[in-house]
Symmetry: C2
Subunit: 315 residues, 2 copies
């Protein structure tokens, strides 16, 4: 038995074969076809799967499942993507459409942040634990929570929107329409926003100089590099940013009390530079003193594929 995992993103669709030993043994990808017709993406997915099957000489009847990860909200009972704005999927019967080409194979769909958490659970940082929270830091904040070995998708099964818990009441506007969400303070985009704001007020700062006065050149890596090198303005911004992440971790500890919390996304690449200040914040303020350990995510770019391929183990 093997399973197929597909990570459908706004720029590309990545597909892979995961063996019974839970190893990603083969993968390939194609650009997401932004043609205006979401059915074109179904053909891309089918082409990718056909390719993997033939290249790896796999029989369809040996597939445990085809799992799909999408950046959006899911109707689990119907296998329908309610909304995935980057993909232009709206009330889109993804499982049924993909499955038509592969009779007899069960097709599952999951939110990509949840799939990534599942990948950590079966193959990455959460191995050996029964509960873990993955916080993926990107343009937004992706949250995936495993409790008692199961993905946590809430009482009404609408999903888990960790990034849209309120952290700063009345604060910065969030894409969701609320103000002060975790996402609007802890995303990489928030770090960039604050970095640019500070650089524009401090032309003497290393950030401003490195960007040669063009604020749009300031990205998360630049802010972090300047902070690491001791620039005062960047350090203050980064300190504030890690305090927001620390408070977010404390909220997660008070509410979910997971055994482990993993941080993913580019911001987490330089592990301890991110984890140390979060650890220190939690040591001081977490409600439970025997709280979660903090680590960086392990599955990186393959998290979506691997987690999607594991979905059959959850249903």
């Amino acid at each position: 038995m093997y399973s197929i995992g597909i990570d459908i993103g706004g720029s590309k669709i990545a597909a892979g074969v995961v063996s019974e030993e839970q190893k990603l043994v083969s993968k390939k990808s194609l650009p997401f076809p932004h043609t205006g017709n979401p059915l074109d993406s179904i053909r891309t997915i089918q082409t990718l799967i056909d390719g993997l099957l033939s290249e790896n000489r796999l029989k369809l009847e040996d597939a445990a499942c085809i799992g799909l990860a999408v950046p959006g909200s899911i109707d689990y009972d119907r296998g329908v993507v309610i909304n995935a704005y980057n993909l232009d999927y709206h009330d889109f019967p993804l499982c049924k459409l993909v499955g038509e080409h592969f009779p007899g194979v069960t097709v599952y769909v999951e939110n990509d942040a949840n799939a990534a958490a599942l990948a950590e659970y079966y193959c990455g940082a959460f191995r050996g634990y029964s509960s873990g929270l993955l916080i993926t830091i990107g343009t937004g904040i992706g949250g995936g929570l495993v409790m008692d070995g199961k993905l946590f998708i809430g009482g009404k099964k609408n999903g888990f929107e960790f990034g849209h818990a309120v952290l700063v009441f009345g604060g910065e506007p969030c894409t969701c329409g609320q103000r002060g969400c975790i996402e609007s303070y802890c995303s990489a985009a928030a770090l960039v926003r604050e970095g640019r704001k500070a650089a524009s007020a401090h032309h003497e700062s290393a950030m401003y100089k490195r960007a040669q006065g063009e604020l749009t050149r300031i990205n998360a890596k630049l802010v972090m590099d300047c902070a690491r090198e001791g620039d005062e303005v960047a350090s203050a911004i980064y300190k504030q940013y890690t305090d927001y992440l620390g408070a977010t971790a404390c909220t997660a500890i008070a509410l979910f009390d997971p055994e482990i919390i993993a941080f993913g996304g580019g911001v987490s690449n330089d592990g301890e530079f991110l984890l140390s200040p979060i650890r220190e914040y939690a040591r001081q303020y977490a409600f439970f003193k025997n709280h979660a350990k903090f680590v960086t995510a392990e599955m990186k770019n393959d998290a979506g594929i691997v987690g999607a391929a594991m979905l059959h183990l959850q249903r």
Copy 2:
């Protein structure tokens, strides 16, 4: 079969008999003995139970359980109260001590906010639902969450500290040592704090006049009464307070997505005056549009007893 529920509070210990039909058929209480020796409270508990058994002519061997609710943190595996500051219980083997007097009966202990949520689940506002969040508004904020028919006590089983999620990063100091916790903005004590602050700055306000200039006379009911009667200063404070509660509800919806959210405590007595602004806030800002319904708690003062008596159904 019947079960015994005991609600151990800092002022009194209340005990009751709950029938197999989940009705509270008999109850009695005694003051909590603040003698400095917590073993004295064990004797009080045993006296209450002995009284209930004899008055109701119940046989010990017909008891499904003795359930205990305490305002504190629990080590579930050991049946030990880790800390209940109001009771001066610290690493206190409550189940074992109570049980010694009642051989053959299983004794359980639970946090009182969780027990109250359980009472709503089996006998109150959550009947017919499999998930619900109870937010009890008092001096602090008590949170109890039922998911899939089970009390939610986190991955490490330290408990569920809903009141200590961060709502206003860097805001008012909380008793837990953090700043800006839900508790420090949504408790009745927070409403009083803000009411007094506003009254002291507005001697022309109805709040100040009603209190005859003595700020300590301002309690949550007075602020709400003045707001209801249209006093501008009190109305502004109350609007802000319900906005905090609205944002708290939105956080709960994004994270737990329960079918129902119930508000308890004195502040919730005048149902719609509290619920309407929270509903309006959530209508505008909740991440999931098909979110939880909002109600007031039903179990009131008996919640702890009844929930404690139901603990055998959870283990």
